[in-house]
Symmetry: C2
Subunit: 227 residues, 2 copies
DNA sequence: CGATCGCTTGATTCCGATCAACAGGAGTGG
DNA sequence: CCACTCCTGTTGATCGGAATCAAGCGATCG
């Protein structure tokens, strides 16, 4: 991990002092340049709910879940973060949700103070942070639609389609997360997720190479919300 | 509705040219100064899903629902907007959800281009927009927890507590929305909402002055997530 | 006044949760 | 190596909470 002073000199490198203003991705694309990196093994906590938010993170490899657990053990996963994606930056100074590694992961880290200092001087950085928050907001809204309206089967189909799009862009996925994580993301139980996937497979709506390796049929790959 | 030129002169007024930088609320607090206003009757659409996002709105009186309807008629309300609250500003140029008046409402309106122009020149404006988006994100995440984890009764209690806090700050609420809106917000049916409220009343967990006027008992007013 | 709307309540159905058992690896240690 | 356990995922049986279907009530309105 670097000091703020070192990060500041990096900032000038990134900003290209005296040249054009920072372009989109100037911060997020350059996390590698100004931060350190850490490794987390499967199920390790990256940060906890209510902990101070001192860092900004970017997935280098592996995958991360953003979640919160209620007193009685019920858990909701609000998002999965895949390679190249950013997480952990809060407007306040405390994390509202926890972040945990789904698989063994390498995570890039930048001090929050570095980003804040950057943002204080450069409006484009703030614009990027804002745009990033707005994209997160959008996917949360989509997810609320899923949680509020869709049946179990529909949720699983929507999930598989989304993961296929995000991970491979095609119609074949290697899921990085366990069934329990899928269940907690979709607001279902592990049994219901497993059953839904089995039924989709026996419908030939999807193909199951292994339990984690799934091939989407054309209906699922290109259809609308309903399967 | 004013022109951009007029709005720009307002900007200088608000910014206090040559003085301190814009304070928090410089944009949102001054919507009255730089925009127009419109009236909407109950159930009127303020803007639709997929429509161009040309304006930023602020509730003067009444209340608004932010929602999306699926092809088959299933509807999810993602948020309610109460007096003094802002809605309708998107990062992209298209609305992702519709906005409709819940009750007869007066809505203040500012052209998006005005805000964008302001933001282009003033970093604090961007910071405010970002902070606003971040607050929205936070409440969406809380709502996902509700939709993914809570039982019907728990959802209704959480909803009543939230509305009481937002509207009166105390333990008594006059709900501005119909049961159907509550149901679509909580991911339940109207019958389940009605039944839950009736049961809470017969438990003496809440008091029902009228169907919309609700008094929260101390357990509900100050308790945690579970009722 | 009938008609519509918002809300409530009752009866029944059904989807997903729960409880329970088991199969296939992966890792561990003798 | 095998026996062992642990972990993940699947499947079956049953239960229960919320959805659905249906009816009725009071208020508001044309």
């Amino acid at each position: 991990m670097q000091t703020v002073a070192q990060a500041n000199s990096s900032r000038q490198l990134v900003a290209g002092r005296g040249r054009r203003p920072l372009r989109v991705d100037a911060v997020f694309g350059s996390v590698e340049l100004i931060g350190g990196h850490m490794s987390f093994s499967r199920n390790a906590e990256i940060y906890g709910d209510e902990e101070p938010a001192d860092y900004l993170y970017k997935v280098a490899s592996g995958a991360v879940r953003i979640c919160k657990v209620l007193d009685d053990g019920r858990r909701q996963i609000t998002a999965f973060c895949l390679p190249d994606e950013i997480f952990g930056f809060e407007v306040g100074d405390v994390h509202r949700f926890a972040a945990e590694a789904i698989a063994d992961s390498r995570i890039l880290v930048v001090k929050r103070s570095t980003v804040v200092a950057l943002a204080a001087r450069n409006g484009d950085v703030v614009r990027q942070l804002w745009a990033h928050t707005a994209r997160e907001l959008q996917s949360m809204q989509e997810h609320m639609l899923l949680l509020g309206c869709l049946s179990a089967r529909e949720r699983v189909v929507a999930f598989l389609r989304m993961m296929a799009k995000r991970i491979s862009g095609g119609n074949e996925v290697e899921l990085p997360m366990a069934r329990q994580d899928i269940a907690d993301y979709l607001g279902l139980t592990i049994e219901t997720v497993s059953r839904s996937i089995s039924q989709l497979a026996s419908d030939a709506t999807i193909g199951l190479r292994t339990s984690r390796h799934i091939v989407l049929g054309n209906r699922v790959a290109f259809g609308q919300l309903n399967a």
